[in-house]
């Protein structure tokens, strides 16, 4: 293999934030992303927003997928987005959210800059397709 041959790989951070101990979904998605050829960094459970920001900035991920089932999305997600903005990382990171999000909150999250919200019943294929199509173009 040549040293000059470009090989771009989509990098994702799958993040569990706040007091929410359910990560089966996050595991399943990490695995599906892996099998789709992405590089997946899994945050582990009970992360604070600042940890997620630190990870997203340092790992330079294309996609930040936040899994949240606790109902605290309307406090935690804005904190993450603010943190990303502080480090100039928000513009070229695609933020997606998965979990139990009421419809009216979904609208709010999207206004904040969340690209898509995937609720129960969303299919893996659909998510992978979305990520492939919307991964930020970086020069």
């Amino acid at each position: 293999m040549s040293v000059n041959q470009e090989q771009r790989t989509i990098r994702c951070l799958v993040a569990k934030v706040g007091l929410d101990g359910h990560d089966r979904g996050a595991h399943v998605i990490s695995r599906a992303f892996r099998d789709a050829g992405f590089e997946v960094i899994y945050s582990g459970l009970h992360r604070a927003p600042e940890e997620i920001v630190q990870a997203a900035v340092q790992e330079d991920v294309d996609i930040l997928g936040i899994s949240i089932l606790s109902g605290a999305h309307d406090t935690l997600i804005p904190e993450i987005i603010d943190g990303l903005t502080e480090y100039d990382a928000f513009d070229d990171t695609l933020v997606i959210v998965g979990g139990i999000i009421p419809d009216e909150d979904e609208e709010e999250l999207k206004e904040l800059g969340v690209a898509e919200v995937f609720g129960p019943g969303a299919s893996m294929a659909e998510m992978i397709e979305f990520v492939r199509e919307n991964a930020p173009e970086r020069e």
Binding site: Q7, R8, T9, A36, V40, G44, V57, Y87
Partner: protein, 374 residues
Amino acid sequence: MQERSQGDDAEHRTGSPDSDGSNGPGDDSVNPLIEDLLAGKHRALARVITKIENRQPGYRELVSQLHQHTGDASVVGVTGSPGSGKSTLVDKMAATYRERGETVGVIAIDPSSPFTGGAVLGDRIRMGSNVGDMDVFFRSMSARGSLGGLSTATTDAVKALDAFGKDRIIIETVGAGQNEIDIVKTADTVTVLVPPGSGDDVQMLKAGILEIGDVFVVNKADLDGANRTVQELREMLDYRDGGLPRTVGHHGADAAGDVHGEDDGTETAGWEPTIVETVADRGEGVEELLDVLADHRAYLDRSGEREKQRRARYAEEIRTLVREDVNELLAAEIEHRGGIDSFVKQVRERETDPYAVADDVVGPIEECLSERRE
């Protein structure tokens, strides 16, 4: 490369990052991304590493501009079998360095799938002691198909962390089996983790990973069998020095002493690999480990080994780049002349032979070079 004096600092960074505007031989415009990196922007550092990993167009220019800002960081490699506690130990090492006021860069490599190229990079989960501390820059990498325990981009990524100004750089390899030893080509000091119960003394006779350690860490030293592992390692190290084992016998159980192998190494004796016992998840033995690493650094400087190590590495790096570049040049030339298949066809039809084809393709380069030399 120029001959240099043995003075240890001669090769170190030639100026502080922002002391002048000129960078890289023959190119005086600094890439804005490098400017941001040198100014301490985390995002720029992260992006430079991404470009290096992806081998994006222009990454070579980036690395070449980084070069003159490197040379100050010490690079420690941590390797060992899967589950031996590398990530946990690295976390505690980073936290302890931070307590000592030093900044830390970590590169942690996990395997990638041979089928899809995908990867789950899980080392970050163990970095619990450095939450929110941006002065620990932790980056996960997948091996991207490379064997040997590192990714091909690792060495260049280390340069980026070094130029950014990290004092200590830790590379955590893929969970290694017996033969993933690429780490010796990049790290100044190699730390090999050997958990208790890693097999009997015959395992210790084997070639490979146990030959490359400057420091051995028996992690999980609170588990049964740790003393035995320490003893077997010590025996192995004594053999390695060419002598008969001095420590075979019944005094292997002095678990109180964490640091072994203090044979009062004189200047001529070379480095005696040291065994340290740790319990990484409780942070036990980490201070001792860092002290031993500092001893090894001092040894490298004192003995001139560091100088030798660096020369050998630069030489290897130059050779690799030249080889790759020439390969690429020739691949393009073959393509230009109708592709490898057309040559193959001629060879099969006995119109020509492989040697003649090779001469034919390489000949013009030889001619061109010998003309230039005159």
